[in-house]
């Protein structure tokens, strides 16, 4: 293996060593440090407490320093797990998640995780090893152009060419990942850069002339929005993940309550507003509640906050909120006008804009509008059929919701499990729902739960999974067991790739092409083989007792619920339909 650069002994931090105005000094003189050591010092300066990673040749210098650094390292079993765990950690805590992978295959294994974080605007900083600078571009062993590969799925990325640039780059990376519209940043570290030496100074500030996010909304526009709200008869707040990530939940609640404005959320925004609140409409869109979709269709003012008018939300875009003036608050100016027309654009941080709005609003009741909403709720109550050949999957989620009093951190996989969770778990506080919304990544929920649990050790963390998705990162059971991470996995086992099967049932004449999972393993036995606990639940009356027992377990647990095999997610807006044209489905 080519180590490149100067291979030296790791610098042992002697007692005389101290940091003086950001410069590491020994007896008054700046000290040269190895790149790998600089990296760790930078992570400490950023108050990083944990990194998720997987070693390999190109990151050996980094792992050598990690060996006795006081930063926790969690060894995942696949680099995709590291990226998702860093992502889950970030979503649960609001702090950036950090992951590390080696060059080539290690780096490419991060790709799905980075794309997932990018689509959902999650602050992740990823470090990848790279072959030595002298070997780049020669198809060297385990070389992959990871900065080229991840250009479209990171907020920014770096290939560090010299050890002396490292501290600045890391400072910039954390700054970029966590400010403005958050997102993943990747730093590619050639082996000679990790092994090389430079003076270490952690910069206090960044100098990025091309990067100046706008936080405060324009006062004139905010006033305009206040006037529009006062004038509106049937306003609706449509809130997305931006409200969660900016910590705007309290301000949102205040605005909604002062003016009696019903709140519909996106999948990403679900935990921003309590499901049980009288003004909550739940989720809107393809599998949203009937009442949220009708309210949006009838509203005369749509106030979008930190949401991006995704096609799963809007359905047929031409008929989305057809009677409404549209106000759009977003920190990313490019989101405003990207998909829909707008009347009142406000570029800014959701929390700051809402807080600036509050003093401009009077208190108001809207009995007529709320009465109309009540009729929508009567016409379209959430509801489901009893399980035909197994437990109703929605029932399992209702029980989890009740038992945890809506206070657990819930992650999901992708598919029916995700949509049922969105519909039936009653959320209470922000950052308690962690799901891959934009990319829809199967296999996300379990490693994300591991990351969330490490970030929130005192919370109960549950991954609500499908039998298909869980098998995409099932190897992380070893990670959970090795570190005693007590996540709970509730598999809604329907023996199908359920959501795809539902589309085949509805739109392809029940031709279940490649969606039957007849080769499923015995999940209890698998859990036990890894050293976790496993439970199988085959009848409705067993759901509650097993949940009680499983959630009380001190370690990781897999629960395998035999659910009704062909249960479907309803209501459903067929693709490219207006969102008020919902299919009610079986009850």
């Amino acid at each position: 293996m080519n180590s490149g650069g100067t291979a030296r002994h790791p610098l042992v931090l002697t007692p005389g060593l101290r940091v003086d105005e950001g410069v590491l000094v020994l007896g008054g003189l700046p000290v040269e440090m190895r790149g790998a050591e600089i990296l760790i010092e930078c992570l400490k300066a950023e108050k990083v407490e944990v990194v998720f990673g997987y070693p390999g040749g190109a990151v050996l210098p980094i792992y050598d320093v990690l060996y006795d650094a006081d930063i926790r390292h969690i060894l995942v079993r696949h680099e995709q797990g590291a990226a998702h765990a860093a992502d889950g950690y970030a979503r649960a805590t609001g702090r950036p998640g950090v992951c590390i992978a080696t060059s080539g295959p290690g780096a490419t294994n991060l790709v799905t995780g980075l794309a997932t974080a990018y689509m959902d605007s999650v602050p992740v900083v990823a470090f990848t090893g790279q072959v030595a600078t002298s070997m780049i571009g020669r198809d060297s062993f385990q070389e992959a152009d990871i900065t080229g590969i991840t250009m479209p799925i990171t907020k920014h990325n770096y290939l560090v060419k010299s050890t002396k640039d490292l501290a600045r780059v890391i400072k910039e990376a954390f700054h970029i990942a966590t400010t403005g519209r958050p997102g993943p940043v990747l730093i590619d570290l050639p082996k000679d850069v990790s092994n090389g030496t430079a003076e270490f100074t952690y910069p206090e500030t960044v100098d990025l002339p091309g990067y100046k996010p706008t936080y405060d909304g324009h006062p004139k526009q905010i006033k305009e929005l206040a006037r529009a709200i006062e004038a509106a008869q049937r306003p609706v707040l449509y809130v997305g993940g931006g409200v969660v990530s900016s910590g705007a939940s309290d301000a949102l609640r205040k605005v909604a309550e002062m003016q009696e404005i019903p709140v519909a959320t996106t999948l990403m925004g679900l935990s921003a507003f309590p499901t049980a609140h009288p003004l909550s409409l739940g989720m809107l869109g393809m599998h949203g509640t009937g009442y949220a979709n009708l309210a949006v269709t009838e509203c005369d003012l749509l106030i979008a906050v930190g949401a991006r008018f995704d096609d799963r939300v809007t359905g047929k875009i031409e008929t989305f909120a057809p009677k409404a003036r549209v106000a759009h608050v977003d920190i990313d100016p490019a989101e405003i006008g990207k998909n829909v027309r707008f009347d009142i654009p406000i570029v800014g941080d959701a929390k700051r804009v809402l807080e600036a709005l509050i003093p401009q609003l009077e208190t108001k009741t809207r009995p007529e509008w709320l009465a109309q909403i009540a009729t929508f709720k009567n016409e379209w109550p959430l509801g489901y059929a009893k399980g035909r050949d197994g437990i109703a999957p929605q029932y399992v989620i209702e029980q989890i919701s009740e038992l945890t009093k809506g206070e657990a951190i819930i992650t999901t996989e992708v598919g029916q499990n995700q949509m049922w969770t969105a519909q039936y778990y009653r959320f209470k506080q922000p950052r308690s729902f962690i799901t891959s919304g934009g990319l829809g990544t199967m296999g996300f929920g379990f490693p994300a739960a591991i990351g969330a649990q490490i970030g929130q050790p005192n919370r109960l963390v549950i991954d609500i999974a499908g039998d298909g998705s869980f098998q995409m990162n099932i190897q992380e059971l070893a990670t959970a067991v090795q570190y005693g991470i007590p996540v709970k996995i509730a598999i809604l086992n329907n023996g199908y790739l359920g959501m795809v099967r539902q589309w085949q049932e509805m739109f392809h004449n029940k031709r279940y092409s490649a969606t039957v999972l007849s080769g499923n393993p015995n999940f209890v036995a698998i859990a036990e083989a890894y050293g976790a606990k496993g439970f199988r639940v085959e009848s409705e009356d067993q759901v509650r007792p097993v949940l009680e027992q499983a959630l009380a377990e001190p370690g990781p647990v897999v629960m395998d619920f035999a659910v009704s095999r062909e249960a479907n997610v309803f209501p459903m807006v067929p693709p490219n339909e207006s969102i008020n044209m919902m299919v009610r489905g079986d009850r």
């Binding site: 250009m151 091309g210 990067y211 100016p333």
Partner: protein, 160 residues
């Protein structure tokens, strides 16, 4: 749809061209021409980008470009009073029989002859797009062997 000229200041970093070009292709925007070179500040480059886009698309292009960390400033100079220049090298098949005719055409366009060989002539011309298009048109009957254009660079007139 209208042609727009964007003058974009970027950090002179490796990969910045790939970031800009990648953004255009991934979001389905069309680049008509792109010229890039360093400014008087060595760490900053200027890209002159010509795009054909309606207003909404142009707005998206501008906003998406702004999101690139390495992009410092974008000016749409389409409607500004400005000087546009492009340079082209045209290699034409020509021999003793038609050489003087070709030279005459070149002369009308104030183009320079930069290479003469037994069976070919290379003409260098600068000007705006229309002028270069016209010269290309007129030389085509002689047989163009190779054509290289730089893409347009632009500068706003006056002290702005």
């Amino acid at each position: 749809m209208m042609k727009h000229t964007l003058s974009v200041l970027v950090m002179n970093q490796p990969g910045v061209l790939a970031r800009v070009a990648g953004l255009f292709s991934r979001r389905g925007f069309n680049i008509e021409s792109l010229a890039v070179g360093v400014t008087d500040e060595p760490n900053i480059s200027r890209m002159t980008i010509q795009v054909e886009a309606d207003d909404a698309t142009l707005e998206q292009i501008t906003k998406q470009l702004h999101k690139l960390i390495d992009v410092i400033k974008i000016s749409d100079i389409t409607t500004d009073e400005r000087v546009d220049r492009e340079l082209a090298l045209i290699k034409i098949s020509g021999d003793a029989a038609n050489r003087s005719e070709i030279l005459q055409v070149a002369d009308i366009f104030r183009a320079k002859i930069v290479d003469v060989a037994e069976k070919s002539i290379v003409i260098e011309v600068t000007g705006d797009e229309a002028k270069i298009d016209a010269l290309v048109q007129l030389t085509r009957p002689y047989g163009i062997i190779e054509l290289v254009r730089t893409g347009k660079i632009s500068m706003v007139r006056g002290s702005k």
